[in-house]
Amino acid sequence: MMDSGKIHRRKQASQNFVFTLFTLMSASIVLVLFVILGFIVIRGLPAISWDFLTKMPEDGMTKGGIYPAIIGTFCLMLGSMIFAFPIGIMSGIYVHEYTKDGILKRFMKAMTNNLAGIPSIVFGLFGMSLFVNDLHFGDSILAGSLTLGLLVLPVVIRTTEESLKAIDNSFRVGSYALGATKLQTIRKVVLPMSLPNIITGLILSIGRISGETAPILFTVAAYFLPKLPHSIFDQVMALPYHLYVISTSGTNIVESRKMAYGTALVLVLIVLILNLLANVLRRYFGKKVKMN
């Protein structure tokens, strides 16, 4: 017979070891996040002022503000939303609710996944050749938004799909049993239920758009353009590209370092605020759907 006390101790020891390991790993991730955030906040905060947020860049981008880049980034976020959300949500609904399990569905899913795996610089190149050159949009908000929209499309489709998948089939069946059509079932039961999740996912995807640099590089971003856009065919400055410019190829990199950290902080704040908004909206919708 084996010594049961010994076995028990050994089991306990390995249990403790693994648990400690997992705890340490999780803690280190949180730590890294805090270090990055702390670093950016400490370096960037001194640069932030009302002028920084509302003024044009001056003196070879070593002074002044980042106002046009903020506006540009918001324009691009809005533009790509307008383009990607309707198409992505409708495709997601189509794939999940309309296609039967089979070759078409698998093909659509594989394509979506492949699209999501394409490096963003390739999207930039594609956007340049199609939207900027072939379609003659030029370097413009339109071309940039379309490119970013393409980039985020798979995320939107998958978010929609996953949210729909989370809805138990019994709700659909219950609706059909009352004589509701498929469209009515989707519109009145399935979509309202999945809306909180879809919206959350979409907001997070906008966050991703706001930080993308490669796709806007050749399609919209201006190196230095101290004025606001007047139409969707204008170029704009954008935060991530501006950050890149003043950190690597500005007129005076050392002088503009402070501006760079300020820009990074603004970018991070935008993403943080979006994430917060996603949470708030999810709660709000979650309540509303139940009460409706």
Partner: protein, 257 residues
Amino acid sequence: MVKDYVKKPKVMAKDVNLYYGDFHALKGITLSMEENTVVALIGPSGCGKSTFLRCFNRMNDLIPSTRITGYVMVDGKDINDRSMNVDELRKNIGMVFQKPNPFPKSIFENVAYGLRVNGVKEAKFIEERVERSLKQSALWEEVKDKLKKSAFELSGGQQQRLCIARALAIEPSVLLMDEPASALDPISTAKIEELIYELKNQYTIIIVTHNMQQAGRVSDKTAFFYMGELIECDDTKTMFTNPKHTRTQNYITGRFG
């Protein structure tokens, strides 16, 4: 009741075969039901009784690679015929599921849902119908002061009665019940059974149940299914006291299944 008075069947299945892919789930089922009766479908799990139930509102259509042959008639019409509008059919054939599945809407909107999707707009009419349906399903007294509250706040038994009210609101002529009380506690079960007894006066009810006592209590006729076949169907009393087949007897007395 005059026993040998032959009514026109309300619902009828004639030589129905159903396949899920290669699986032969229903094998040549022929069965007819008169108006305002309760028929219980019994049998061990996987015997095809729920599948058979779903034939009457074509819920099997929702399951991929399903094929059906034979005739399923409701009011003398072949419901699998091309000319049959499946949404219209389901409006006429109400269904209550095993697990209560109210929508994440208010109690009122749950009952009103069927009316709304079928194009009823008049608010007063909807209000009256909601009230009537909730009274029919014996839920009105418990919920009349909180119609705007979420249906999810109700207990499981109340939710199931809400689902029955929801089905009744669009005035179906046939009510399909797929083990409606199997997820409920004994008191809720008793309420549902009482309800079935009441509803029999206005509806033709087909109920799938695993509970022999329940079948005995609520049904006029009982049909025993085994491995996709209809072994025997007769008056419930006869089935429970004097079944023709030994298999039926064994199942009913609990010797197998």
